[in-house]
Symmetry: C2
Subunit: 174 residues, 2 copies
């Protein structure tokens, strides 16, 4: 086996001191997709956050408003809300505290339910959601959805849906 | 115009009190892609983070190691590192402090350069990178790359690359 001058930061290169076949480094084609995915995920989050700022909402706040507004009676157990938004309970708790201060949600104990606290969407939270949703959907279109052809839309969904399902399964087991 | 019972959390529904044509709500096909994208981005971040935990690295730490190891002399100005990793300077500063405590990087003033501080990859940081990269690439394959056909890999890259470019342009203007 030849020795290579390698750069371990580059997953297409072999690692030093290991046979090449041991580590399945990414090919150039795989790597360009991987980097494009990371970049789009991060930059889109940044851009959508920026466009929510005039509404005094973080992107995670907006997500909470969406999830609660879709829930029966516009409320959810904190534990279920953590699961739905894929957050740790402690992180969610901090976020809900901030949103409570802003008047968007209200924490309430559930009488006779030992499983604990509910997060309720307030009327103000509901109105905020209604006011912000049209702006947010325009952002989502401008920076993501409208940049794909109908064929690309469907092809990407076909490719991503099984990945989401796989990852949901792993998360559930965690 | 008819009145609808609507759910403003659902971008496919019209907003109350507005003509339908004003807000370009997502169609069901658009919305399923949008949700799949959000879910994959978030769950993948979670899963890769989890698989870096045994190495005592957060996913953002790993990214810093990658970027620095690819830089000339394995160092970068803090401002350039913030740009490269798409982070705010204050957030990066906190992260570098943690990584400095862990011995992975070293902050150094640059004599005669008023543009300030450099982050240097330490020998320990470099070794950590080399040790962790093979594990990380296996995670990236198992949970993302290997789940696409060669045709899907290329189609997704073709679709995402222009979006990444668009978003980089916006970020640069910010």
């Amino acid at each position: 086996m030849e020795t290579h001058t390698i750069d371990p930061a580059d997953p297409s290169a072999p690692a030093p001191g290991r046979p090449e076949e041991e580590t399945p480094w990414l090919t150039a084609r795989e790597q360009r997709l991987w980097r494009a995915h990371l970049e789009v995920a991060k930059l889109l989050d940044y851009q959508l956050s920026r466009e929510l700022q005039p509404h005094n909402l973080a992107i995670n706040d907006y997500e909470i408003l969406v999830v609660l507004s879709e829930a029966p009676e516009r409320r959810m157990r904190m534990t279920d809300l953590a699961t739905a938004t894929l957050q740790s309970k402690s992180r969610l708790s901090h976020q809900i505290t901030r949103m409570e201060t802003a008047g968007l949600v209200l924490r309430q104990e559930c009488p006779g339910d030992r499983r604990g606290l509910y997060a309720n969407l307030t009327e103000q939270g509901w109105e905020t959601m209604q006011r912000v949703a049209p702006c947010h959907v325009r952002s989502v279109r401008a920076h993501f959805i409208d940049r794909f052809s109908p064929e690309q839309l469907d092809a990407m969904y076909e490719a991503l849906a099984p990945v989401a399902e796989h990852l949901r399964g792993l998360r559930g087991r965690g």
